[in-house]
């Protein structure tokens, strides 16, 4: 990650909790990273690691209650989002920052036609009238690869297939020409051929408009395909941050290493046993005092007793290590095996 002095988005020590019957879960516990203008950053991690809550926090979409902002800062173009007034926030949403979700129905209204929903965005953002808005909407639907775009304006969301709904949502997000597009698992529900289309489209639009992209995903293939830099999250924490090639070729956190190795990929020996990460993620109600990954860490098990004790007792801080950042007392130094 570049040491950019003026990032477009800077998240600093973000902490978000959720209050439940059993107590407070610290879903996001001290997350920091930044995105430069025009850059694509991927946040990767498994379910419950806090990646989606981090994304939702950027637009202040975490429902409260049960969500509680416990600390940290999110600055967009120098402005403090968490301290912003409601009307300023509304002006930011859908204009400078847009978001697409895994489930298109979270952003499409089932009772309005595609034309009305797209037109509303354009009226709010650019003050366009109906005819001008329709024209711009058709052009954008064509850009996102919608077959027969003019005819689609009159339909309701339920009349469209999953891939087409996703396209409408992405078209709506792009209509406002945002400077930052946050995409939370945007292609997870789609077929591989449609996923390839949507990713291609996002890359093309980024090239043309210089939009910065924040990709939230569990799919390392999508990360490798799309991102300049990667943030790896585990149990509410960032465990590693690095430019994408360096992360894939020289991961330094044992969790990143394990994650990359456990994916079956071209060339893995047929029916060979895959390397696994045994065990499960610790409870965030009462996280362990030391490294949150220690109980599952194979690397840690190969260390001397004293070092193991350090992993179990002392919380590792995210520290710079040359080409990136890693939160590990004894980071790996080799290439992926």
């Amino acid at each position: 990650m570049s040491a950019d002095a003026n990032p477009l988005l800077a998240i600093d020590n973000l902490q978000v909790g959720f209050d439940g019957e059993a107590g407070r879960v610290r879903a996001v516990d001290g997350v920091s990273f930044s995105i430069a203008a025009g850059q694509t950053v991927g946040v990767v991690g498994e379910s419950g690691c806090g990646k989606s809550v981090t994304a939702a926090s950027i637009l202040r979409l975490v429902p409260s209650p049960p969500g509680v902002m416990l600390g940290g800062q999110i600055r967009f173009d120098g402005r403090d989002i968490l301290a912003m007034k409601r009307e300023d926030l509304a002006a930011l949403r859908g204009r400078e920052i847009a978001m697409v979700f895994q489930d298109p129905m979270t952003s499409l209204n089932p009772v309005f036609t595609v034309e009305r929903q797209m037109g509303e965005v354009l009226a709010l953002r650019f003050g366009l009238g109906r005819a001008a808005a329709a024209e711009r909407s058709i052009a954008m639907l064509r850009t996102v690869g919608m077959p027969d775009p003019a005819a689609r304006l009159a339909v309701y969301p339920h009349e469209l297939s999953g891939g087409m709904k996703q396209r409408v949502m992405i078209a709506m997000a792009l209509l406002c020409e945002p400077r930052l597009l946050i995409a939370d698992e945007p292609t997870t529900a789609l077929d591989v051929t449609v996923q390839a289309q949507i990713l291609h489209l996002m890359r093309e639009l980024q090239r043309k408009a210089g939009t910065a992209l924040l990709f939230i995903t569990h799919d390392m293939g999508v990360i490798a395909e799309m991102c300049d830099a990667v943030v790896v999250m585990y149990a509410g924490r960032v465990v590693e941050r690095r430019p994408v090639v360096n992360l894939f070729e020289r991961p330094r956190h044992p969790y990143t290493h394990g994650l990359l190795r456990s994916i079956p990929r071209r060339g893995t020996a047929y029916k060979a046993l895959l390397p696994t990460i045994e065990g499960t993620v610790p409870s965030l109600l009462k996280p362990p005092p030391g490294c949150r990954f220690a109980a599952r860490c194979q690397h840690q098990q190969s260390l001397a007793a004293e070092s193991q004790r350090r992993c179990a007792e002392v919380d590792p801080m995210l520290a710079a290590d040359g080409d990136g950042w890693v939160a590990c007392h004894f980071p790996l130094n080799g290439a992926t095996s």
């Binding site: 379910s47 390392m220 071209r266």
Partner: protein, 333 residues
């Protein structure tokens, strides 16, 4: 030369679509349109395709959880599609299913011990003591301790629930397990645990699998033979290495190109195939892929192309590489 464990001949499954106030049949969805395939004992057939291609319906029709419209499903030479009563009951012991969603495929009101034991009770196998002993064995096989016996599915993670589903499927000692997207709902690190379990069980027990998945990397990893489905038809089938290294059908090639490489140094620049799968209610005439195929000619729309050998025919049963395309030469296969 041995006969295949499972042989499917020209299987069809159509659903009527009803509409209007009289619920008249207004159309037909052809979910499975003339599928023929075979699975050898101890081997894995990977069944690949995108949503709506009919792969799950095919899996359910093989188990006869859906009634086939026509065709034969021969298990060890016995026709499952037309069996009834006792014969069907006995055949079902030999075939079991593992489902995609480990959250909805286990009864939340039964303990894990009861879930795994239920098939033994239904099929009246052993005394109560023997059944309980068998349940303990099964749980150990899938890597769960006996403390799981008295607990409920809600107390387990997704990966552990999938292990419970596998233990249940194994309780009757089946020879064939049909696994419908068994790891799709799981996290990456848990996915590899469940895949390893399935591979190990196959080695130890000689299980055969029909492994249904949309994830090509997973299918490549576990399969001996791979069948590619598109709109209810198998468009290509063959040994795993040939399908992945030398795909012949234009649709298979499209799928292979659509998989991200997993290497940030090798990114796709070419524009991907356009369009989406047509509706199974109104499939294109002739070849199902003709509406999207870059190699399409008029003859493709005239008749459904038959599965034909790619290259020199391999005489070993179950090792043939076949594709349903009349343009293989133009495609360069």
């Amino acid at each position: 030369m041995t006969a295949p464990l499972l042989e499917v001949r020209d299987l069809h499954k159509r659903y009527p679509v009803r509409g209007g106030i009289l619920s008249r049949t207004v159309g037909t969805v052809r979910a499975v349109a003339g599928v023929s395939l075979s699975v050898q004992a101890g081997q894995t057939l990977g069944l690949v395709g995108e949503s709506g291609c009919g792969k799950s319906t095919l899996g359910r029709t093989l188990m006869r959880l859906e009634e086939p419209t026509s065709g034969q499903v021969l298990f060890d030479g016995n026709d499952l599609a037309h069996a009834s009563g006792d014969a069907l009951f006995k055949l079902r012991r030999e075939m079991q299913m593992v489902f995609q969603d480990p959250y909805s495929s286990l009864n939340p009101r039964l303990t894990v011990g009861e879930i795994v034991r239920e098939p033994l009770i239904v099929h009246r196998i052993g005394s109560k003591a023997e059944q309980l002993e068998r349940v303990r064995e099964l749980l150990a096989t899938v890597g769960l301790g006996t403390d799981a016996l008295q607990r409920y599915p809600s107390e387990f993670s997704g990966g552990q629930r999938q292990r419970i589903g596998v233990a249940r499927a194994l309780s009757l000692n089946p020879r064939l397990v049909i696994a419908d997207e068994p790891v799709s709902a799981l996290d990456v690190s848990v996915q590899s645990q469940v895949l390893n379990l399935m591979v190990q069980l196959q080695r130890e027990r000689g299980l055969a699998y029909v492994f249904i998945s949309h994830d090509l990397s997973v299918v490549e990893h576990v399969s001996d033979v791979v069948a590619i489905m598109y709109l209810g038809c198998i468009v290509e089938m063959g040994p795993v290495r040939q399908i992945f290294d030398r795909p012949a059908h234009p649709y298979t090639r499209t799928l292979m190109q659509a998989i991200p490489s997993g290497n940030p140094r090798v990114r796709r620049e070419a524009a991907p195939l356009e369009g989406e799968t047509p509706s199974p209610m109104s499939p294109p005439a002739g070849c199902a892929f003709s509406s999207r195929c870059p190699f399409v000619v008029e003859a493709c729309r005239q008749a459904v192309p038959p599965l034909e050998h790619v290259g020199t025919p391999n005489p070993t049963p179950g090792r043939e590489h076949v594709a349903a395309c009349i343009r293989l030469e133009a495609v360069g296969a």
